[in-house]
C-alpha cells in the first residue's frame, strides 16, 4: 500500500493558527504602548487610543486573559547587578541524549547565569543567553556545560550589545 496518507500522521492540519480573534487596531495600539511602557496608567492609555478608561481596562484585561499579554516585566540591567558579561551559547547534544532534552534543559535553566533558554530546530538543540560577573565565570559555566556527558558541542559568542527594536503591531 503506497501510503498516500503519510501526510496525515499528524492529527492536526497545518496549524490553523488558532486565530480566534487577532487584536483589532485599538488593541494593537494598546499592545504597542504597553510593550514600550508597562506602567503606563490606564487612563493615559485610554486617552492615547481614544477610548473610555473603563473600556480600556476591559480590553487590557481581556488581552491578559486571552494570553496575548503574557506578563509585565521590569528590564533590569545585568551589569548593574554585577553580571556585565553576556554571551550566547549554542548547545548541541549527543544524538542519544535528545530524548532527555527537556529534562536536561530544566536543570540548565536553574543555573543562575541563564537568562534565556531557546529550544531550537536546526544545527543546534538549544541556545542559552547567559550573564556572568567576568570572563572566568563565563569560562567556568561553559566548562560545566562541555563536561556534561550529554553535550556534544557548544559555541560561545560574547554579546556586545542588545537592541530591542520598537514593535509595530
Amino acid at each position: 500500500m503506497a501510503d498516500e496518507d503519510s501526510k496525515s500522521v499528524f492529527p492536526r492540519g497545518p496549524q490553523p493558527n488558532d486565530v480566534r480573534a487577532l487584536p483589532d487596531r485599538i488593541d494593537r495600539e494598546l499592545l504597542r504602548l504597553l510593550e514600550h511602557d508597562a506602567r503606563m496608567p490606564n487612563n493615559a492609555l485610554a486617552e492615547a487610543v481614544g477610548i473610555a478608561p473603563s473600556t480600556c481596562l476591559g480590553r487590557i484585561r481581556a488581552l491578559r486573559e486571552r494570553g496575548v499579554i503574557r506578563g509585565y516585566h521590569a528590564d533590569v540591567d545585568p551589569a548593574a547587578t554585577g553580571h556585565p558579561l553576556q554571551a550566547m551559547i549554542s548547545v548541541r547534544l549527543q544524538s542519544d541524549a535528545r530524548s532527555r532534552l527537556a529534562e536536561f534543559v530544566e536543570r540548565v535553566g536553574r543555573l543562575p547565569e541563564v537568562r534565556d533558554v531557546y529550544f531550537l530546530a536546526g544545527d543546534d538543540d538549544y541556545m542559552l543567553r547567559v550573564a556572568t560577573a567576568d570572563s572566568s565565570a563565563l569560562r567556568d559555566f561553559v566548562m560545566t556545560l562541555n563536561t556534561h556527558p550529554d553535550v556534544a558541542a557548544t559555541r560561545t559568542s560574547l554579546i556586545f550589545d542588545h537592541i530591542r527594536p520598537p514593535q509595530t503591531y
Copy 2:
C-alpha cells in the same frame, strides 16, 4: 615588525565594571519582584520587602534613575498577533563590510520581523530573533538577508520554545 604592543591598542584596561553601588539586599529583592511582575503596586512591594511605601517608592525611583531598571515592558505573545513562527538567525558579514556593521544592523532592526538584535563577538557578527506569520514569510526574510551584498552567511534555527528562568539576584 612583530608588534608586541598589539595588546595595548585599547586604551582602557579590563573594564573596572563601574560598580558605583551594587544594589543592597532589599533592592535586589525589589528587582526580583518587579522582574516577575512589573505592575505590582508600590505598597505591595513595600510590604513584601518590609519597608514603608514611601521608602519603597524612593528606592525604585533611584533604581530607575541609576539605570538599574531600564524599563517596564509588556510581554506580548507573538503568535497572538499573527506571528507564530520564531527563529534565530546568525549572520556573518563579509569581512570588508564589518566597518558598516552598525549602519547595516540599524536598517535590519527596522524590519518589522525583528524582535532582538544581538551584536556578537565570535564566529558570527550578530544574531537576530525574528517572528513571522509563516514559513514563507520567514523564507522571504532570510532570502532578503542572504541576497544583501554585505552578508557572507546566515544560519537559521527555528525556535520551538522560549523559557525565561526566574532570576535570583
